[in-house]
């Protein structure tokens, strides 16, 4: 067994979800050399490589693909890169985190390798036995990989949590190797071009990794009212989430959607305000440690998964919370 982990990086460091992917790789087997693959271009890539080399003691090698082709996460060159590196290294497993980056690229790479990928893995029972949610998490399916080729997985980072990056006191120093791209043909490249990326920059923690998430539903009634959710999140040092209905109504941008087709979160504390609890939403937050629900409808399904429920008007409860919750240290 040997594993290639496709890592994402930003600002010269590897992303937390990629460290979770390393953790998943470690759980495959005790004897499992792990190679981290990073791609991109320029100095940020090499900073990230140095960071990756020391992120976890079990990383035995960092592979770096430096080319302008990889300056944006386009599926075509990246899938090809995985194919190339896998063919060279003969890894038994290829793992990446189940975010929009991995979901876009890994199945394409699997097709190039003529294997079935297994996406959204939440549990690794043995090197070829995996559990993944189906039907929006209303059932769990255990899947065995029986193929002769490499086993390609995307893993949910919430199921393989890492307490903090660089938790190892001894600093690891895995060797960093450049990927030889001389055989990287041009044929699949250039048919797609990156145009732009738009996002709302905020000071708040990232939704996928936040310790506390405060979510608002359609009951907030307007983008203006939704600011109460943001205020409360600020006070708690929390990330802001939203239901599909709230996003569709235009109160907040799509990147805040929690659910089957949005983000999957599992924070220590999840607070849902005016959220009814559609199964598609529950799919995205049911693994949270403590769930609080506030809704004026006592029959709302959200109360079935909440540890603490409060039946009441969010327009009264939220201001009261804002007033009474202690300032975060």
């Amino acid at each position: 067994i040997s594993t290639l982990v496709l890592a994402e990086h930003e600002g010269g460091a590897i992303k937390p979800q990629s460290v979770s992917a390393v953790k998943a790789a470690k759980s495959l087997s005790n004897d499992n050399p792990i190679s981290l693959l990073l791609a991109g271009s320029g100095s940020a890539l090499h900073e990230a490589a140095a960071n990756a080399a020391s992120c976890d003691l079990s990383v035995s090698e960092v592979l770096v693909a430096d080319s302008d082709e990889f300056s944006h996460p386009l599926a075509e060159p990246w899938a090809k890169l995985i194919h190339l590196v896998q063919q060279k290294g003969g890894y038994s497993h290829v793992i990446t985190a189940s975010g929009s980056f991995g979901k876009n690229i890994l199945p394409r790479a699997a097709a190039l390798l003529d294997v079935s990928p297994i996406t959204d893995v939440i549990e690794i029972s043995d090197p070829h036995l995996f559990v993944r949610p189906i039907y929006a998490g209303n059932a769990l399916c255990t899947v065995r990989y029986t193929g002769a080729g490499p086993c390609l997985l995307t893993v949910r980072s919430t199921s393989f949590p890492v307490s903090s990056i660089l938790a190892d006191s001894k600093s690891n120093d895995a060797p960093i190797t450049q990927v030889d791209l001389s055989t990287f043909g041009e044929d699949s490249v250039g048919k797609s071009r990156y145009v732009k990326h738009t996002s709302q920059d905020t000071e708040r923690p990232d939704l996928g990794n936040a310790r506390v998430v405060v979510t608002g539903g359609r009951a907030l009634k307007s983008a203006e009212n939704f600011k109460m959710i943001e205020k409360l999140a600020e006070k708690l040092g929390a990330a802001v989430g939203a239901t599909r209905a709230a996003v569709d109504a235009g109160y907040v941008p799509n990147e805040l959607q929690v659910g089957q087709t949005g983000k999957i979160v599992a924070p220590e504390l999840y607070m849902a305000f005016g959220v009814s609890g559609a199964i598609q939403h529950l799919a995205g937050m049911r693994d949270s440690k403590v769930i609080v629900a506030v809704n004026k409808d006592a029959e709302a399904p959200i109360f079935q998964v909440a540890d603490y429920g409060l039946v009441g008007d969010i327009f009264e409860v939220i201001p009261e919370l804002l007033e009474k919750i202690p300032e975060k240290k």
């Binding site: 980056f101 949610p133 189906i134 059932a139 399916c141 145009v195």
Partner: protein, 251 residues
């Protein structure tokens, strides 16, 4: 230019699913089946492109059991011009679906292949990316906006990604997979449902298309997710803050 749309028959999104007691899967007998919601969005987008005069024909394709024809008829009633059904029995995983789609693309030569980003039964989110890889076509997954430029033969796609929206420009032919906010699918009207009955559906078998259906994955069991233990209903904000502070220790 032709547009090909892949559609899948799944348990209706509003059905509360039941895991079979022998753990062999999810009950699909006597359960309402419908077109996967993401596939409806894919078909709607194709129809809008055609109605804008940018495409000549919309071909809806599906794979699976005999009953999938019903879903295909729904697609024809929404407005697809004709249908293709590749009849298979037994489990069909995304790699096989992608190979069947590639074979159909080689027959039909569409300029765009549009699929839903995932099916709400297996939640795989794989097929579009895989067929794009097999065809060596560019892909625009999780699309929330699609703008076609017929003259330049390119399509600009806004993608819903973790950190916001990403815009890509793809040379055609290309594969697009649809996210929820791309459009609101139309309902089939009664006259169109009647009309759909006479639209052509072509049948293929995997053998006709030279695709061998084999699988490298095996479903071992399907189980219920662990239930959360019942919580408590509190009476006031003060009580809630107290519980969070002194019982759950999270604030």
């Amino acid at each position: 230019m032709k547009i090909m749309v892949a559609i899948k028959r799944v348990v209706d999104y509003a059905v509360k699913i039941r895991v079979k007691s022998d753990k062999s899967g999810v009950e699909t007998q006597n359960v309402k089946m419908s077109m996967n919601p993401f596939c409806e969005i894919a078909l709607e987008e194709a129809l809008r492109i055609k109605e804008a005069g940018m495409a000549s024909e919309v071909v809806a394709v599906t794979m699976g059991l005999k009953q999938c024809v019903d879903t295909l008829r729904t697609g024809l009633a929404m407005g697809a011009d004709r249908g293709i059904h590749v009849e298979t029995s037994g489990p069909l995983y995304p790699l096989s679906v992608a190979k069947l789609l590639r074979a159909l693309v080689e027959v039909e030569k569409p300029g765009l292949l549009i699929l839903g980003k995932q099916a709400i039964d297996d939640d795989c989110n794989q097929t579009g990316q895989m067929v794009a890889g097999l065809l060596n076509w560019p892909q625009g997954t999780f699309a929330s906006k699609v703008v076609l430029d017929k003259e330049k033969q390119v399509v600009t796609v806004d993608r819903e990604v973790d950190g916001g929206l990403e815009t890509l420009c793809l040379d055609m032919p290309a594969v697009i997979t649809t996210d929820l906010r791309l459009n609101q699918p139309r309902y089939a009207t009664l006259p169109n449902i009647m009309k759909a009955k006479s639209k052509a559906i072509k049948k293929f078998t995997p053998e006709d298309l030279n695709v061998e259906i084999k699988s490298d994955i095996e479903e071992v069991q399907v189980t219920e997710p662990p239930k959360r233990k019942a919580g408590v209903i509190l009476s006031s904000v003060d009580e809630l803050i107290d519980k969070l502070k002194n019982e759950a220790h999270v604030i």
